[in-house]
Symmetry: D3
């Protein structure tokens, strides 16, 4: 499946923390660059996410903000 | 200002394309790792975003999805 | 690519309207059930979206609200 | 109340799963077409959502992505 | 229609700026408290939004971030 | 840090409810005007959010909808 989301950053799962409904998944997408996702627990289980697995962080461009110092 | 958004990736502006209401801004946050943002044209102008400027891509964790091959 | 987004509704492109930065794409996902997406013009072009093409409307569960009459 | 969100799909509640803060609600909006929402537990209770109830899945157009096979 | 979105702030339209696909709408929800929305141009027209009209800014709780100085 | 999000409403924390992964935070941004946020529990702890603290509700303009009666 090819998706319209402009951002798909390849990385490695660093942590998975399960809640009752949601899961928090952290990916390392470059050396010292991590991205944290909150997805449903059902999705985390369906994708078989566990530490060390290769995965992508996918973000729609309209959900990205820009900040400056 | 310190914000609850879990993801703030430091990078450099690679491209800014202005529309009537929105602007598309591309940041390089690591070698060969780019993130594209759609923000309002007013925000892009207020932040003075232009190619080469240092900036952060900020994303709320609940807006990040995870995908596998 | 398999994605964590819980909702991927298969349908047919009914309309594509291009703006300067964004595009508005309408899919029919069941008889008389349409979903409208705003995606970047670049994504609409990359996916080759045009009327009659099969496509999916993909929505993260945390972006869905529920309403009652 | 009439809302700007372009997508309001009428359906029937198929499942409600409560977490500590959030709830996962699944609606059937057409035969074999389901949409899953994560809303706050407080909202699920306020709306009185339970299996069999008629409800709408509401999604802002800028939160819809498009994918192709 | 009663919606799960936790935040519906009543206010008055202060400005409407139309783009090709999107519109930027600014509401004053309390003295000196303004909220800006980007909605589709089609929605802005359907709702008949114009300066001085009463309207609500509606935001899903999972789209709100918190910041401190 | 200066951010592209168009909406940053200053207020006071009225309530914080912790879940396993997420937290629900309510801010009063004007007399009788409250905004509720769902953020990660980790962010709520990192920001030291507690009742009475001054904080901002930050919302990207593309996440705001408009409704009329």
């Amino acid at each position: 499946m090819e998706i319209s989301a402009r951002n798909a950053l390849k990385g490695t799962v660093k942590a998975v923390e399960m809640g009752a409904v949601n899961a928090e998944v952290t990916l390392e997408v470059a050396a010292s660059v991590e991205i944290t996702a909150i997805i449903t627990k059902a999705s985390a289980e369906k994708l078989g996410l566990s530490v060390g697995k290769e995965a992508y962080a996918v973000v729609k461009a309209s959900d990205v903000m820009v900040a400056i110092d």
